[in-house]
């Protein structure tokens, strides 16, 4: 189902008289044939002659002192090429912060490459092994003698804030703090008829991409360290070079099709270990994480404790909101400050709150470090604020949708940071359509109670604007009429490369199979930035559009001259160029390119797209622009809850999003359906459990994402306001698809059982406890 409701479009869509040949259609992605026939190589599928196999030896305590590490026996094992410890390398660190264009100093909390003295989290690497085979590498790992002396650790952010707590990050474990202040919160609470306060908790979540971290590195004839790796960010070549003390142009990161990322391949993973081993051995080295390695090898989604205090009038107007957010950053900082910032700026969600106070902190512990994950703090905020909206509506006895309607942010209104998003805000339309699409309610069946929930959201697309993000793409035409796109963008499965082909094909009027994309090479393809933050289409899509448009202009000028028509009368479509109202006057696209070649016309273009550049938010008030723009929508679900066992089944799932403009409709639906799976897992089953920092769920039989038997069908309602600042008015859908799912489920469960589980995941046991608590409270009230 699709709605392009122009009556809601304010401001007016940018492209009038829109008539696309390929944009917005459900085309077969360019990467599909290779994938479905097993021809697409992933980073782990490459091998080289004389290749060594690597293994990482890890700490099995979360907080300890490395008293002794003896690798003598491991080194002596036949077939072992090297065993390296911190003693074998200079004391350099892995950047855990965003380097680059900010002009700011990095936080001084980088991670040691290998443990030198202090183990800070379970699984922290102690030694690197390279051997002739995987068997030998594993045997050698068993021969590494490690003596760890336990040190008191801290595993709870609230404990970490207490005086006398073990210090993980000096001086006080606080790694980031943000404040947002608008209006007069005290006055707002004074004006409230009812004040509702609740505490919501979220859990550690694992990305659970199916392809574990993997790569292959070799030092080439120019002394360049080449690293073929599964990553979202080939531009970590700089971080690797810095950690190795090499010039930046002597490290090259080549991507491959990535078997899923979701933020978990956003930080450096195996790249640095590969580079170290390849440089040391001067042989190609392959390192593939086992699934157990992967569980401890990349940062998780931040658990948050979110305290919401809302003041509201009887007629459903929010008069004040106070939010206290506390995030577990784990043992290293990585992207925690930015994740926290996303939480802070989205703390009031898609609602207009004039009196707002947000106080957000990220705190270091000896838990697994936390970092980027699809939704990036914004989804944790949504996981809380949408539950709070239901709780407040319940407290004043108002319909949940009506209460939301009375407070929704409208197009042109300022969000929490005072910034006015430049695009349309269609939250209400999305919510109404999603709710309506639930249809007739499924009846209860004995102890199985049915409930419904909805959640609206606000989620950014594009990186934080003070990061001064840019992206480049190159588009060229060959004299046979085929088109080449070159861009550093990494393709992590959402069709990032295919969408560039789609854009170039549309603008140059060629069919999709005539376009090929070369991507993901840090020294050969123009740097396009990260595939993160719902930015690839927005940033690189805009760059490709600019490049293709510039090229089109040059080609059309020649066509106009040859065909004797005005340039704006020239149409490019279906591999032909012709005069719009006289299609007989035309030629093949290939013929046009040949004519251009004969005239020496420049047949390629390199474009750079710059996102808005801003200063950081005001440190005291949090006012200013944080992101380029925002996406809005709603997710509605119907669940059946077995009130005796606590089992929850999701019966219906409706996702309504204003994506601005679809590039590939099937790909948009795919993002929505996949984001829903991730969100349902977050709501109901997924949880990384740590005991004293030690992971106790290190496999897919213990860490439970929804299977084919668990997932409901997902119905997508795709709205196109064409108001976004991406190509053709597109916004983005990668992260937004996931953001509202979990609170919609939480609200539906609460609706079904008349009690709320304030902590994710909503396990059967927690549901049963919540019902028992409800019954106790009811009995007490009745008695």
């Amino acid at each position: 189902m699709t709605t392009t409701d122009r009556t809601l479009a304010e401001p007016a869509p940018r492209d009038t008289n829109v008539r696309y040949n390929q944009i917005g259609k459900p085309l077969v992605r360019t990467d599909a044939p290779g994938k479905v026939t097993g021809r697409t190589p992933y980073a782990g599928d490459y091998t080289m002659p004389k290749m060594l196999h690597a293994k990482v030896v890890r700490a099995d305590l979360a907080s300890a002192r490395l008293k002794r590490i003896d690798v003598t026996r491991a080194r002596a094992l036949p077939g072992v090429a090297c065993v390296l410890t911190a003693a074998d390398m200079p004391d350099r660190n892995i950047a855990t912060d965003i380097p680059g264009q900010t002009g700011r100093d990095r936080l001084k909390t980088d991670q040691q490459v290998l443990v030198r003295e202090r183990v800070r989290y379970f699984g922290e690497p102690l030694a690197l092994i390279a051997a002739e085979s995987r068997d030998v590498a594993e045997a050698a790992a068993l021969l590494v003698e490690v003596e760890l002396e336990p040190i008191a650790g801290v595993y709870d952010p609230e404990e970490a804030l207490k005086p006398g707590a073990p210090i993980v990050t000096a001086p006080d474990n606080v790694v980031a703090t943000y404040r947002i202040r608008r209006g007069d919160v005290e006055a707002g609470f004074a004006a409230a008829d009812v004040i509702v306060e609740n505490t919501y908790r979220t859990q550690f979540q694992e990305h659970a991409f199916l392809e574990p971290e993997v790569g292959l590195a070799w030092v080439d004839e120019n002394g360049v360290v080449n690293i073929r790796v599964s990553t979202q960010v080939i531009e970590h070549f700089r971080a690797v070079a810095d950690a190795l003390g090499l010039p930046h142009n002597k490290v090259r990161v080549l991507g491959a099709m990535v078997g899923g990322g979701f933020g978990g391949k956003e930080d450096v993973t195996v790249e640095l270990y590969l580079a170290i081993l390849a440089m040391h051995t001067r042989r190609p080295v392959r390192l593939e994480y086992s699934r157990e390695d992967s569980f401890v090898g990349h940062g998780k989604r931040h658990p948050f404790k979110l305290v919401y205090r809302t003041g509201v009038t009887r007629d459903g107007r929010i008069t004040a909101l106070d939010v206290q957010a506390l995030a577990d950053s784990g043992a290293y900082v990585f992207l925690s400050p930015y994740v926290l910032l996303y939480c802070a700026v989205n703390a009031s969600g898609p609602y207009r709150v004039d009196n707002l106070n947000v106080f957000a902190r990220a705190v270091a512990t000896n838990n697994m470090f936390t970092s980027a994950f699809r939704g990036f703090g914004g989804m944790q905020a949504c996981a809380a604020y949408e539950q709070q909206m239901d709780e407040v509506a319940g407290a004043i006895g108002m319909d949940r949708l009506e209460f939301r309607r009375r407070n929704l942010l409208r197009t042109g209104e300022p969000m929490a940071t005072g910034f006015v998003p430049p695009s349309s805000i269609w939250t209400e339309k999305c919510a109404d359509l999603a709710w309506e699409a639930l249809g007739e309610q499924t009846p209860d069946d004995g102890p199985v109670k049915v409930g419904r929930g909805i959640a609206c959201y606000q989620q950014s697309y594009g990186r934080l604007t003070f990061l001064k993000d840019t992206s480049e793409a190159w588009v060229g035409v060959e004299i046979d009429g085929t088109v080449t796109v070159r861009s550093g963008v990494t393709d992590i499965g959402a069709g990032q490369a295919s969408s560039l082909a789609h854009i170039a094909a549309e603008i140059l009027g060629v069919t999709l199979p005539n376009v090929i994309v070369y991507n993901s090479d840090s020294q050969v393809t123009p740097l396009a930035g990260t595939t993160t933050a719902t930015r690839a289409l927005y940033m690189t899509g805009n760059a490709a559009r600019q490049a293709a448009a510039a090229l089109r202009e040059r080609l059309v000028a020649v066509a106009a001259e040859v065909l004797g028509a005005a340039p704006d009368a020239i149409e490019l479509a279906s591999n032909r160029v012709a005069v719009a109202d006289d299609p007989a006057r035309g030629m093949s696209f290939a013929e046009l390119v040949r004519l251009c070649a004969a005239r020496g016309v420049h047949r390629s273009e390199l474009a750079i797209f710059r996102a808005p550049f801003t200063s950081p938010l005001d440190p005291e008030t949090g006012q200013g622009q944080a992101h380029p723009d925002y996406v809005y929508g709603a997710h509605a679900v119907e669940v059946a809850v077995d009130t005796e066992t606590g089992e929850v089944r999701v019966l219906k799932c409706i996702a309504a999003h204003d994506v601005g403009q679809c590039i590939n409709r099937a790909a948009v639906e795919g993002q929505i359906e996949g984001g829903t799976q991730n969100g349902l897992g977050y709501a109901l089953t997924e949880e990384m459990l740590y005991r004293e920092g030690r992971l106790v769920t290190p496999s897919f039989s213990e860490y439970l994402m929804p299977t084919a038997m668990d997932m409901p069908r997902v119905q997508s309602i795709i709205l196109e306001s064409r108001s976004g600042i991406g190509p053709f008015g597109a916004k983005g859908i990668g992260e937004p698809a996931l953001t509202p799912v979990a609170p919609a489920v939480a609200n539906a469960v609460a609706d079904a059982i008349g009690a709320r589980v304030f902590e994710y995941p909503i396990t059967p046991e927690r549901v049963v406890r919540a019902i028992a608590g409800r019954d106790r409270a009811g009995a007490a009230a009745g008695g």
């Binding site: 068997d135 594993e138 005796e644 066992t645 089992e647 089944r649 109901l684 089953t685 459990l689 106790v696 769920t697 039989s701 213990e702 439970l704 929804p706 299977t707 084919a708 038997m709 668990d710 396990t763 059967p764 046991e765 049963v768």
Partner: protein, 292 residues
Amino acid sequence: MHSDFDLHLAADLDDALASLAPAAGEAGRPAAMALAGGTNLIVDLRGRRARPRRLVGIGRLEGLRWLRVDAGGIAMGARTTVTDLLESPALAAAAPALHGAARVFAGQMVRNAATVGGNIACGSPAADLVPPLMALDAEVVLEGPAGTRRVALADFYTGYKADVRAAGELITEIRCPPRPAGSANLFYKLARRQGDAITVVGVAVALEAAAGRCRAARIALGAVAPVPLRARAAEALLAGATLDAPAIARAAESAAAAASPIDDIRATAGYRREMVAVLTRRLLTRAWQAIG
């Protein structure tokens, strides 16, 4: 991966039994283990939890792969796969408890490889086929150096991942007695997700009725004790009784009392015990309705 082992792919049952038999002078060395579907054993080798000196592959023993459902009861070779169970309409009719357990057993590839004998032999308290088979009063046929013997499945386990098998004994057959007219059996697996999940609580019940009374009842519990077990006290409460709601509730509470669950990452002991009562009550009620 544990790699210090010999692998012998047995040609037939005699070859397998000879290969599994402890050799002279091998006393004290880790035992030989039979490798059937491998869906547990290979995982345990990889995690170095199993470190056998020898593996005896029984994958070529087609004679151990058969399933018979008839007036004589339900019988199957030990190498019958979970998929074989799932794809038998006769089994679905005669033993919905066992068929239902096959449906929620792991994922397709594991079901295609995993065997009934292997699921029994692995000794996991959460082995999904065991409670239904116990409720169906199954016995296990063992063949070994000392010949062939039969052991009731309810008496098979001696402790956590321990059983009555002597060194060199192989499970070759599983047999359930005929199902009398007026009987019903059911299974429910409570887990943290629907597909491919480790059981939090598994309950199987079988009832036999005559003249409006319960003639015999069997209740088997999984994942709530070191071994899958029968709730015999609860069964005794039902035998000879008319199964009204209070009788069923008493039996359900008794079954819960028979459980000795632990806290783990999937659930607390308290929740598991409560759920034994809930599921036992529901299954008994449904089974009784089905008969009546």
